[in-house]
Subunit: 275 residues, 2 copies
């Protein structure tokens, strides 16, 4: 099992790369190929659009690569997603793609294009992350258990396939774009990190007002971490907000989901039947 | 000229209400009726949805009211916009509606419903506002000059009617909702406040990926204030970001626009021919 790591959004930290390589070495069941592009830096991004796109296209087209693992989120995969999906090489269709957060732009577009994608932990989670993530080894092993042997214990436990998972803000920002997948009959899991409650309420308005999103089978709420302070108390919490917009829009609220920007984040394969 | 002030989003500050009343009294050409709902407070909002909706419906249906002026932005008008537009009373069609920022949800839906709306300064701008706004009297007079006598000197100087103006994040969050107006042939002005550059880039991706938005005649960029700091330098600025997404999407970039969350903010009547 050969797993290529590329960074379509932000730069992978060296210590995270070393930690994830050590974990893979201890496991001995997979070869991790961390593309040098992961360590490029160009302002906010892991290199210019051209470099990120080129590395992604390279590993997608490589028949020796079994899985493509997105190094981390941040922001930027939307800038190259459409180009990454143009004239797909045959080898791109024989792989699994995994990531979460900003990588949701790619997961959406790739799933729409017929590729196999899954929401799940990323290499950056191996070291202390951006949001107080302290213990990433479990997350890395959970991701690798799925990538290497489709271990069902990695999965979000309540999935009613077909499912999808997204960061709420990422999902809101891909609605109406060429990356928007078909939500019909989907168990839709969302989570959020580092946003104000008013922005979460606004994004839920946007999401649940979409006729396409109203076709989901149900919507479930993962963890909402690191909520930014409001000037005054917002007057509600994330659970009440999501329940309220589900009620208003006629979307079935399916309760909480076991995903989030944290070490406990679980795997959600898109669309596919769960083994 | 009787102007009703209601607050579909956040609570109007008492000192702003007093300042704007004093300005109106000095002018002597209009009667300002500040609805008591403006001072309600319910968590983030100027009263519960029901109270904000009821006050708005009341002044919309009042034949003695010539114009409805939204007290301030913040967040929340989207929560009542659809209900406000249901079964419109005849008197609602004989008025002008003005506001900006979060009020853009209402401006969009009202314009779509055939009402006369304009982007322009709001009563809260009379006092020192949330974003370092120091001198609001000019903004208030600019708004009243338009409301009372359609004074062309209040207008954004470069308008090629028909035009619309929106806060970028508000516009992004109304795309695909029932509030989305027809952008065909529009001079579309956008501005932003208190966002990270990466979020502005992401919202521009969302905006310019919309086939409906690509029908605008051109897009112009107002002021982008109080940009939140990035972890690392983003590597670009708001002008380069907007020009880049216009180029990518085939939308004509029309240069800068004289609008923003500040005292220099100007009036943009939606759709209508400029007198």
């Amino acid at each position: 099992m050969r797993i290529a790591v590329v960074a379509p959004s932000c730069t992978l930290k060296r210590e995270a790369a070393e930690a994830v390589e050590a974990i893979a070495a201890r496991r001995g069941d997979c070869e991790l190929v961390i593309h040098p592009q992961c360590f490029l830096s160009d302002g906010h991004f892991a290199g210019p659009d051209e470099a990120r796109l080129s590395a992604l296209r390279e590993v997608m087209a490589d028949p020796s690569v079994d899985a493509v693992w997105f190094a981390r989120g941040g922001y930027g995969s939307n800038r190259i997603a459409e180009a990454a999906l143009a004239e797909l090489p045959r080898a791109a269709r024989d792989k699994l793609y995994m990531g979460y957060s900003d990588a949701g732009f790619l997961l959406a577009g790739m799933h729409k294009a017929g590729l196999s994608v899954a929401w799940g932990p990323m290499p950056q989670d191996a070291s202390r992350g951006d949001h107080g993530l302290e213990s990433g080894e479990g997350a890395i092993n959970r991701a690798l258990d799925w990538l290497v042997r489709r271990d069902a214990s990695s999965l979000e436990a309540g999935l009613q396939a077909p499912a999808m998972a997204f960061n709420l803000t990422v999902l809101s920002n891909l609605l109406g774009t060429p990356l928007e997948p078909d939500f019909t009959g989907i168990d839709l899991l969302i989570e959020e990190i580092s946003e104000h409650l008013y922005a979460i309420d606004r994004a839920m308005f946007h999401l649940t007002s979409s006729p396409a999103v109203r076709k989901v089978a149900r919507l479930r709420l993962g963890r909402v971490g690191d909520v930014l302070p409001n000037d005054v108390e917002f007057g509600s919490d994330e659970l009440a907000i999501v329940e309220d917009w589900c009620r208003r829009s006629g979307i079935q609220f399916g309760g909480r989901a076991d995903i989030g920007h944290d070490a406990a984040n679980r795997v959600v394969p898109f669309g596919a039947r769960i083994p």
